[in-house]
Point group: C2
Amino acid sequence: MARFFGKWYCITDLRFWLLVIILFNDAEQVNAVWPMPQRISQSTQQYTLNPQAFLFQYSNGSVVQPGCSVLDTAFKRYFAIIFPDVTGEGRNSYHIWFEPAAFTVFVDVKKDECDGYPDENSAENYKLSISAGQAVLSSETVWGALRGLESLSQLVYQDDYGAYFINKTEIEDFPRFPFRGLLLDTSRHYLPVQAILKTLDAMAYSKFNVFHWHIVDDPSFPYQSRTFPDLSNKGAFHPLTHIYTQTDVRRVIAHARLRGIRVVPEFDSPGHTQSWGKGQHDLLTPCYKGDVPSGMYGPVNPILDSSYKFMAQLYKEVALVFPDSYVHLGGDEVSFTCWKSNPNVRAFMAKMGFGSDYTKLESFYMENIMNMTAALNKTSIVWQDVFDYHERIPQDTVLEIWKGTPPKYREELSRITKAGHRVLLSAPWYLNHISYGQDWQNAYLVAPRNFSGTEAQKKLVIGGEVCMWGEYVDATNLTPRLWPRACAAAERLWSDEEQTSSVAQAYPRLQEFRCKLLRRGIQAEPLFVGHCKHEYQGA
Amino acid sequence: MARFFGKWYCITDLRFWLLVIILFNDAEQVNAVWPMPQRISQSTQQYTLNPQAFLFQYSNGSVVQPGCSVLDTAFKRYFAIIFPDVTGEGRNSYHIWFEPAAFTVFVDVKKDECDGYPDENSAENYKLSISAGQAVLSSETVWGALRGLESLSQLVYQDDYGAYFINKTEIEDFPRFPFRGLLLDTSRHYLPVQAILKTLDAMAYSKFNVFHWHIVDDPSFPYQSRTFPDLSNKGAFHPLTHIYTQTDVRRVIAHARLRGIRVVPEFDSPGHTQSWGKGQHDLLTPCYKGDVPSGMYGPVNPILDSSYKFMAQLYKEVALVFPDSYVHLGGDEVSFTCWKSNPNVRAFMAKMGFGSDYTKLESFYMENIMNMTAALNKTSIVWQDVFDYHERIPQDTVLEIWKGTPPKYREELSRITKAGHRVLLSAPWYLNHISYGQDWQNAYLVAPRNFSGTEAQKKLVIGGEVCMWGEYVDATNLTPRLWPRACAAAERLWSDEEQTSSVAQAYPRLQEFRCKLLRRGIQAEPLFVGHCKHEYQGA
């Protein structure tokens, strides 16, 4: 594998940095951080780390102290990541609080959110200063501290004899976009909880901070609802083995929280609901063939009060189960064929004065749903389709752009931000789509704010999402299809665009990061010919 | 997942089959065999199997008896495959030879090749007759018995309560093509031995019978040679961790043998040899820039006696290490740029009267190499390029066709078989190439004998190969990229073409077979939306 020898990405004054390269050897390589920090200065001054004398410690002045669940568990986790060869007793050496340590990571956090959840306003900025015998990591929140620990862990490297090193380094870092999401689709194929947890681990390594759980769709309804158990009893691929119980969901949310990741569930309607109809009588629109029902069903029936009552109850449960203040309502790809075929729907259209414009009926439905979630104090995300039939969308609704190639989605970015809505970009990051060769480069070269609009409009782009739709993906191929391709989007969403505009410069760094992912047990596929010191052994 | 209810593929007389469907339930599904046997008759008559009272037994009349390494180990292996829920003691129940058994598989083999290797002439035909209390599996060779055991294992199924069943079935089966290969490339990425062994397992499930080991190439030389240890010491990605020792190679060959799989090594020259040059001085052609060496190297230097001496010694070792009577010599993609630049090569061309036709030089080289392997009593396989510069190719050389799309490779099939050479088809089966969607269908619809030529020419197509080149593939993504896509080629190479011409009919059978692969621990990716009863759990 191409080896990456440190480059000086130095924004701050370099005068205080003394560069002395005494001997050139493997151990002197300066390691990179992925995604690239906003400001990083690295020196070739190298410190040896001894796992037996390495500890994480809360600074005296830190508001957060031992007992903080997010950081206590992160210290354990990162100790194992930083020292992958250390097993058993060694792994607990960070517990030896009172012994003198050769290297101490002092962690200083200003706000106590230890028992909370990360949210849209969570600050993720941090500073990391590594010098002889210590690292100082300071951040406003525990979420920022997590990002700093991740960077720290990537700076540690081993020589051919297994010794651990870190170089003198200064980092000042913050994300470019507050919303850096990854969508998994657990309806077209069921993903075992273990596969979701593993994905959350890899997300944390790339500093993603939102897990968009596209939990149900046409093919199956694996969410085990407390209010409507028949939805999964009858709509899941299997009512016992292919479902997410309340315990499973809690486990996913807890795992994500400890990694500073939000969980935004999507219950997509009125389309994409075929599986819902199996467990909920009269929810879907009966399609007609001529004057008689055909036996087929279409989208949620938008003319019945019972549909809205059901949706309100379902969303009430969802709002309780998923703590995040956002919820994704879907609203995409609604086919009008079935609605048009149904005489009752046609009568309703006439009564409402919608004429033959079924987008008005769709808007009517979505408006009702958005009012429900607003009443639950949730911010709604919807797919761009909901804007495209543009009727009364609450201003704080976030639109997710998923259609088209660059010129097309840029126009959509212009239009939606002009209307004052916040947007998420996912169109160029449909990573379920594959092609032969290095297609990570396309994902890398996306410029989310490159569209015609004012500065105010550009600021309405709050981030983007990698989507991994499940038509051809399940736990067998999820990880190599996602990683390291998703890392390209991760850097675009976190790092400064000008500093990370070159695919050629990114390549060796991404190669190296991919090897780190392997070392951490993530089955990330290769970018091109080459090798990692520690190859994936599972088969 | 779409469930497959048995179809009657009945070539033999059906009069003796009594079909009584008393009750329709899950356990009555009739299971399919992949690849489709030449003749299979299945009844809905169902027998319960009890793992505690199930045994494999050599027939009294069988030439092969206990102590036969190939079948003794196969009985163990298939017991575990047939009864995946049985662990511990249960797994040994086939040892209870003298107790009355409720179901006995009598195995009758006519030739004792228990300690030999499968070869190009090995008969793989078998007959399998399943009736009340017994199965009778008869075959000419142990290799045929292995194929029959595989089919038997696929006929067993479980109901929702975990009980095991098999239906009354008659199979008469044989392969359409004797050479059904799969290529792995261990040079562009190193594949741990475990990944190779796992691939051999999956190959056996699909009745592939040749592992084409493209073991070395430009990027690395992982084969640890006894004669020339510097080849891997200096040419491997890492001289200790990224090599195949002699023990590793023996392990692969032994694992393959027990599954009736030949191992054909490829040491590709004169091109694709950059890594060889690191450990073998003066082997490669020095390239020139004007009048001086540029420091770059080209293909093997074809004008030096030392090159041929080296190749002869290397192939002598290869002939000893790899027992198969075939060896692949490569001969593809030789660039003439470096040869042309070298004044000594140009002088040699003049001396030999080759003019400026470098294909003559290439032929000269290949002819020498083919003579070496002929002297070692090995049959040579070479890539089609060697035919394309058509000089004196020994008649028994097998040409492998790898270039072009259907019309193009069909012309090549015509040309090469017209010249009387045997051919292998791999052009349509480069499964390292990927695209979004169900691309297994392309691999399935290949018709290897659909080209213009006589019947005699068609018979010269001895089979084909799935190729998994390593530019973008290593152990992280090998298995889901290969399986179940390679199964499509496997059925094309084994089964009757007319019986297996429909993608629509193949789809549910392949879905079911893919679920069986998952159950056997093969990380085979999904074909499309759906689920398996037992999903892949690793992540």
